[in-house]
């Protein structure tokens, strides 16, 4: 009986662990069909089906409160100049109902309902579908083409074609005389993005709205022209059902859909979507924010950062972040390479913290970068710090030497140290973000005496410091390895 209880407790712990280990949002991030995330006056907003939306002060903790009139389905939002253009759809009934639909656009100067600049203009219909059409005019996606300044809207569902129309970026209305163009088929929740001469059409395949059984997944095709053809990695046209996977189910979440791209700065991008069922939140539909990576000019969702014990490897040289303490040699039997082995092989044991920690000084210890030897002074335990807030898509973390409370910290003078005990001070909290190339940047929440945002840099092969983030330099990039 007792044994059974222990097993149950262990099972519960095992269930609880992944949520903490892979935290991306907290609060009440409950939404369906979220729009692309928009930043307004220092706060993040996303709007969903049904009229409301979510607000976040830091991008990690989300709660309701965003307001969007018109109800309807699956809005998108795009900042153009000093205003926000919101597109949403008045649906006719969905899969088994009418396929009459309409997409409408409206403007507001602020997304903050408390702002005097908040207030939506009268909606304007920019696209529609009739029951006889091979199209459902819902699920709009907006793109302001940075190459041309032209504004585009894609829309549609599984019921026929995904269509493209051009809007006037000054008014949000349809460009006069513009005719819808078919660009994909048999997908929905599409979005258009542009990068380095490529136009990308992201769509959602699979089964919608089926909770833990929803097979929704996000795919992509690309084209050199906004009008297509959008081909997948196999050269298959999205008009023929093509699409390369961007994000599927995983991490106890199913039903990825409604892609949105958020560019923080060069090399730092996030994608938003919903998971139709978050198993750790009772199967509710939730906002998801993940790193957006680019591989061979294809977008792919990055992984949420997983808590654990890591080598922190510099991209610059491949050396590892370590405490600046004496290297303690290990004893092992020596063998002549050319002589046959006659005695039994006895595996060596790893060096442990107990083997070396007594020789470490008290107080602050500097850090440096050195050859990785999987020694205790090179193993960093990284855990989220509850109650310390976060940033877009992740919480702040503490970075301590495994088995100790010794924590990495930013210092006055834009340098680094380790403090003997983690206190939760902002200079001991770290923002960890996967970059578009798959490496990571590591950024302290605050740097004492410095207002500038700085990141952990390899200022030399063997010397870490704090400096400005530069995606073009491997000095700004790190990898988390378990080996």
């Amino acid at each position: 009986m007792k044994y059974t209880k222990i097993l149950r407790a262990a099972a519960l712990l095992a269930l609880a662990a992944p949520a903490a280990a892979l935290a991306r949002t907290e609060g009440e991030p409950y939404i369906h069909d979220p729009s692309t995330i928009a930043l307004c006056d220092g706060r993040y907003y996303t709007f969903g089906t049904g009229g409301g939306g979510l607000i976040s002060e830091d991008g990690y903790s989300w709660h309701g409160g965003a307001e969007r009139p018109g109800r309807g389905a699956a809005p998108d939002v795009l900042k153009i100049g000093d205003r926000y253009l919101v597109a949403y759809s008045a649906t006719g009934g969905g899969l088994g109902g009418s396929h009459r639909g309409a997409v409408l656009t409206m403007w507001t100067e602020s997304l903050d309902p408390a702002s005097p600049r908040f207030g939506f203009s009268e909606p304007v219909e920019v696209a529609y579908s009739e029951d006889g059409d091979d199209c459902d005019a819902i699920d709009p996606g907006l793109l302001l083409d940075p190459a041309t300044g032209r504004l585009w809207l894609c829309y549609g569902t599984y019921f026929g074609f995904i269509r493209l129309v051009e809007l006037d970026p000054a008014t949000g209305a349809r460009v006069e005389g513009n005719e819808p163009l078919d660009i994909a088929i048999d997908c929905e929740a599409t979005d258009l993005i542009y990068r380095d001469g490529w136009y990308y059409l992201l769509g959602t395949h699979g089964t919608c709205c089926d909770g833990p059984n929803s097979t929704y997944n996000i795919v992509v095709g690309r084209s050199r022209n906004v009008t297509g053809p959008y081909l997948d990695n196999m050269g298959r046209d999205m008009l023929a059902g093509g699409g390369k996977m961007v994000l599927a189910a995983g991490h106890r979440c199913t039903g990825a859909g409604h892609f949105g791209r958020y560019v923080e700065e060069d090399g730092v991008e996030k994608m938003s979507c919903h998971f139709e069922a978050d198993f750790d939140r009772g199967g509710r539909s939730v906002l998801e924010v993940l790193p957006l990576l680019w591989r061979n000019d294809w977008p792919v969702a990055g992984e949420p950062f997983r808590e654990g014990v890591y080598e922190i490897e510099s991209e610059r040289r491949g050396y590892a972040l370590e405490l600046a303490v004496d290297f303690v040699r290990m004893d092992a039997p020596r063998h002549r390479f050319w002589e046959p082995v006659t005695e039994p092989i006895v595996p060596l044991t790893d060096q442990t913290l107990a083997d070396v920690a007594a020789g470490w000084p008290a107080g602050n210890i500097d850090v440096r970068i050195g050859d990785y030897m999987f020694r205790p002074h090179q193993k960093w335990s990284i855990e989220a710090v509850p109650g310390s807030g976060g940033y877009l898509g992740a919480p702040y973390y503490k970075i301590v030497i495994e088995g100790t409370d010794r924590a990495l910290a930013a210092t006055e003078g834009r340098e680094l140290t380790t403090v003997e005990h983690f206190t939760g001070a902002p200079e001991q909290l770290w923002r960890i973000e996967q970059l578009t190339d798959g490496t990571y940047r590591i950024m302290p929440k605050e740097v004492p005496g410095c207002d500038e945002p700085l990141v952990l840099v390899s200022v030399a092969d063997s010397t870490p410091s704090l400096g400005r983030f530069d995606f073009g330099s491997d000095n700004s990039k790190w990898n988390f390895r378990q080996r």
Partner: protein, 232 residues
């Protein structure tokens, strides 16, 4: 009178011999360090185009036997580098040709220009037929600035371990069995002050090659070159 003449002639001859000896001394030593070093032909030098400082006062190697470079932990090095081996080690400004005594060794300072960006200490020792394994080298130079140069870092690569001081303050330690790598380790941000800044370095080596390279870099990692280097 004749005796006086003889004395005078002898004195002249002795002076001539001495003078010839002095003159002959430099030509005979000059080729000694080639092709790795040459004697400075000017009072001041500039860092090279990549910022590396090539003009140094190098002390003949101090014997410090070590059969392996793996002993060079931080603790060992702090002990080894903070030990005073010769008077004025951390404070005196040496003159080329000056000798100092370190234990039983009589060691000379040599003011030299390195032909390479990396100062080949191993060759500096072997070309003089001095001990070259299990040794400790000292290097000194002066950086003269027309104005303060803030937010620079001293960037060093050394074989093997080394410690570096700027105006008497320790700014950098490279521990372990090191290979000479450009910008292997750097100091924290520091200011090269208007006027003279003294750089001192100690490089320790067991077996194998020994050399170092040193330059200053700015916040973007670019070489700092707007100063002159002197050993006078």
């Amino acid at each position: 009178m004749r005796k006086h003449l003889l004395i005078m002639a002898a004195a002249i001859a002795a002076a001539a011999v001495f003078a010839l000896g002095l003159q002959a001394k430099k030509p005979s030593k000059a080729p000694l360090f080639e092709p790795y070093f040459s004697y400075p032909a000017t009072d001041t030098a500039r860092p090279d185009s990549a910022g590396f400082i090539r003009r140094w006062l190098l002390l003949d190697p101090i014997e410090k036997p070590n059969r392996s470079n793996t002993v060079f932990t931080d603790s060992y090095l702090r002990e080894a580098f903070r030990t005073e081996y010769f008077p004025g080690q951390f404070t005196a400004w040496p003159v080329s040709g000056q000798t100092v005594r370190a234990g039983k060794q009589k060691l000379a300072w040599h003011g030299l220009d390195s032909s390479l960006f990396n100062v080949k200490l191993f060759r500096f020792a072997t070309l003089q037929e001095l001990p070259h394994y299990g040794v400790l080298f000292w290097a000194v130079t002066a950086i003269d600035c027309e104005e303060d140069i803030p937010d620079v870092r001293m960037a060093v690569g050394s074989n093997s371990a080394s410690m570096w001081w700027l105006d008497g303050e320790e700014v950098l330690l490279l521990s372990g069995d090191r290979r000479m790598v450009q910008d292997d380790a750097v100091s924290r941000r520091l200011t090269l002050r208007k006027g003279r800044n003294i750089v001192r370095g100690a490089i320790i080596n067991g077996p194998g090659m020994s050399d170092f390279c040193l330059r200053f870099i700015d916040e973007q990692g670019r070489p700092v070159t707007n100063f002159t280097v002197s050993i006078l």
